[in-house]
């Protein structure tokens, strides 16, 4: 048993930090924060230039062959610095899926442009009527010769306004069980008939509703078998990365402890105020436990297995802990904590206030806490499945 992070991963951590010091400028962070768009082309291309967009891929496929320990470090450092990596995440996920189930033409056309940082791919899964019940998608794709005609609507198509493609989940068969009538397509965003409408959120992030009206794509845009979309989705879902809430919470805690160590109230450091200190101690405990659950995920991956239960436990625990932490930290700031950044006098530049509004999405996206609990209950505890169908 050895809890030390391997030396080569720690060396990589130093490299990632140096990269972030150079490329993650205040300007990049400010722009991402103000626009709510967690993607920055300059930053993205700098990441691509380092070869990190597909860092875990084999070298012969354009990657760097990095192991799960290095990938965990990469993700953690990015999250700790609030780097705008949403586009990288979804794009790499789709590229990985194409690597396994795409046609040679799709792979040749798309993958190099992903790795070079030239293109972004967004995800079109959720719809107004289907979030957790993702297989209930209604967006229709109807065959017309060697084309498909797509009509429907997607919710939370984050980064559609920056993306070159949408990885689209459609219904191609209404006469079978819902899982068996789905097909995936890689649809160019420039295709006529696609409309993007921005959605502003509590956390300040921008997402989109996208509308598809008689969008025509060739059959060569289909990814996987006709009516075999669910199998493709399962592969794609397996590529979703380690949850970021852990890194986000660690970042917030570090910023707060720093600030509380140099801020005085009632004649002492805020850090020496017993109520504040006790709260921070508990958050540090949750941070450490969350970190260990994440390391277990990395460990299982490093053995060549899929960390399903480990992933659910990590995501559930760290996101819920993050939500709780933002509330506790905001409480510790008192009423001044309410002041938002950009106004006069927000403590810590309003980062806690912002985190309080943002954190609530982390227990919802990437598989809601309830979905994670069901996975744990079924796979770890052997309890009966509760979702009908």
């Amino acid at each position: 048993m050895d809890f030390r992070v391997d030396e080569h991963a720690e060396e990589f951590r130093a490299e990632v930090r140096a990269f972030l010091d150079e490329h993650l400028s205040d300007e990049v962070l400010e722009r991402a924060h103000v626009t709510g768009t967690k993607h920055d082309w300059g930053f993205h291309r700098a990441v691509a230039a380092k070869g990190w967009l597909a860092a875990a891929w084999p070298k012969e496929l354009g990657g760097q062959g990095r192991d799960p320990f290095e990938m965990a470090v990469l993700g953690e450092e990015m999250a700790r610095r609030a780097a705008p990596t949403d586009g990288w995440g979804t794009t790499e996920l789709v590229a990985n899926t194409l690597r396994l189930v795409g046609t040679p033409e799709q792979q040749a056309d798309v993958i190099p442009r992903v790795i070079s940082g030239e293109i972004l791919i967004c995800l079109g899964y959720s719809e107004p009527d289907s979030g957790s019940d993702v297989a209930a998608a209604k967006t229709r794709a109807v065959r017309d010769g060697d084309q498909w005609v797509i009509d429907g609507q997607k919710m939370f198509t984050t980064l559609a306004h920056e993306a070159h493609y949408v990885f689209l989940l459609t219904r191609t068969n209404t006469g079978v069980a819902k899982h068996r009538g789905l097909t995936m397509f890689l649809v160019p965003m420039a295709t006529p008939g696609i409309e993007i409408r921005p959605v502003r959120t509590l956390g300040g992030e921008r997402t989109n509703v996208t509308f598809y009206s008689e969008v025509r794509v060739p059959d060569s845009a289909r990814v996987g078998e006709v009516d075999g979309g669910w199998d493709v989705m399962k592969i794609a879902l397996a590529f979703e990365r380690q949850p970021t809430a852990q890194g986000e919470m660690a970042r917030l805690l570090e910023l707060f402890v720093d600030w509380a160590g140099s801020t005085r109230r009632e004649g002492r450091r805020l850090l020496d105020d017993p109520t504040v200190a006790a709260r921070l101690a508990r958050l540090a405990v949750n941070c450490e436990v969350g970190r260990l659950l994440g390391q277990r995920m990395t460990w299982v991956s490093s053995r060549g297995d899929l960390p399903i239960v480990e992933g659910s436990m990590c995501k559930l625990f760290t996101s819920e802990a993050f939500v709780g932490a933002t509330s506790e930290l905001l409480d510790a700031l008192g009423p001044e904590g309410l002041i938002q950044d950009g106004q006069e006098g927000p403590p810590l530049g309003g980062v806690v206030e912002h985190a309080y509004r943002h954190a609530v999405v982390t227990t919802i996206y990437g598989g809601s806490s309830e979905i994670q609990r069901s996975i744990i209950a079924e796979r770890e505890l052997g309890l009966p499945q509760t979702r009908p169908g």
Partner: protein, 351 residues
């Protein structure tokens, strides 16, 4: 990074798991109440070499690592074994490391059971809890600049009141401990170490107690969870097992996640005591904090899902519920532990 037990460690965890499951079933746990000590079970453990197991080889022990003792403690905790495994392991390590061969050999061969006072370094303490004090022959504690082992006279009438956890804890006034009066009247004192060495050895021992207790609590939490899961699989209401209701499943999933976290923070803290001494005190504190609340939650959620039966003494979950709180509370008010952890992590302007 290596998060796998070695084959030896795995075998250790499995064999003690089996041992305690077989030798410390709920019936035996109940029979040991209210004192909470089964002398025959202790003798069985002596026969297995437990008192010497965690003592370094150079002091006459078997040299098992603290991580390995944590695995044994976890197994004991899962079966609520009514033996002071944690206290005896930690105190044996202290005594064996001091130049007192007559004490040391008696402790190593299990003739004398040793324990420690956890807060004898607290300046203004009026009264101390002595875990396992009701059955111990030797009590290790810090008397200012001296690390001391007090030998409890055989005839001592120790105040060991019946308590929530059926724990063999007893209580002593600070004055009585320091002066050797009250029920410690006439008790011989042995100085084990002096000065800075004494203080460091004592603080380390208390951290070891915290870590092994955290491991025991992780085991307890797992045992409580298992009871709950088994119950909800077999209990039917409204025509279905109650384990098929999401409210039930989801709370158990939260508990299962904490139980896993509890295991790993205990292992990390045990590992750190040997391999990462700088982080070890904070990790020991974290493990105690997290595993106390996790054990409490696991046992209370599990009890709750037993419905009315959970409230009956004849169902086993109440055994877990009472000990989850009891074993945790021996460390003191968790609020204070949070404060202590904060000082460890963030320092203090007062130094």
């Amino acid at each position: 990074m290596d998060l796998e037990l070695t084959d030896t460690q795995s075998a250790l965890r499995n064999s003690f798991g089996t041992f305690f499951a077989n030798e410390s079933p709920p019936e035996r746990v109940r029979r040991a109440e209210p004192l909470g000590f089964d002398l025959d079970l202790w003798r069985q453990l002596v026969g297995l070499g437990i008192p010497a197991m965690g003592v370094p080889a150079e002091y006459g022990g078997h040299g098992a690592a603290l991580l390995e003792m944590a695995l044994v403690a976890e197994a004991a905790g899962q079966s609520l074994a009514p033996v002071p495994l944690v206290e005896s392991t930690v105190a044996a390590r202290v005594i064996a490391g001091a130049p007192r061969p007559e004490l040391s050999s008696a402790v190593l061969d299990g003739t004398k059971l040793a324990t420690l006072v956890l807060d004898s370094d607290r300046a203004n303490a009026i009264r101390h809890a002595v875990p396992a004090g009701a059955v111990a022959h030797l009590i290790v504690w810090l008397d200012g600049g001296q690390l001391v082992a007090t030998e409890v006279p055989d005839s001592a009438a120790r105040p060991s009141p019946e308590n929530l956890a059926a724990s063999p804890v007893c209580f002593i006034d600070s004055v009585e401990l320091r002066n050797g009066s009250g029920w410690l009247a006439g008790a011989p004192r042995h100085v084990l170490a002096e000065g800075e060495l004494a203080r460091r050895a004592y603080r380390r021992a208390v951290d070891e107690w915290r870590v092994l207790s955290a491991a025991a609590l992780a085991g307890l939490a797992r045992g409580a969870l298992d009871l709950g899961v088994n119950y909800v699989k077999s209990r039917h209401q409204f025509g279905v097992p109650i384990g098929s209701f999401q409210a039930v499943q989801h709370r158990l999933a939260d508990v299962a996640t904490e139980v896993e976290g509890a295991r790993w923070i205990a292992y990390e803290a045990a590992w750190a005591l040997a391999e990462d001494p700088e982080r070890a005190p904070a990790l020991a504190s974290m493990a105690m904090i997290f595993n106390s609340s996790s054990a409490e939650r696991a046992s209370s959620v599990s009890l709750h899902f037993h419905g009315g039966y959970g409230f009956m003494l004849e169902y086993d979950i109440q055994l877990y519920f009472r000990r989850a709180k009891g074993w945790s509370l021996l460390n003191g008010d968790p609020g204070r532990e949070h404060q202590r952890l904060a000082r460890l992590l963030f320092g203090s302007e007062d130094g």
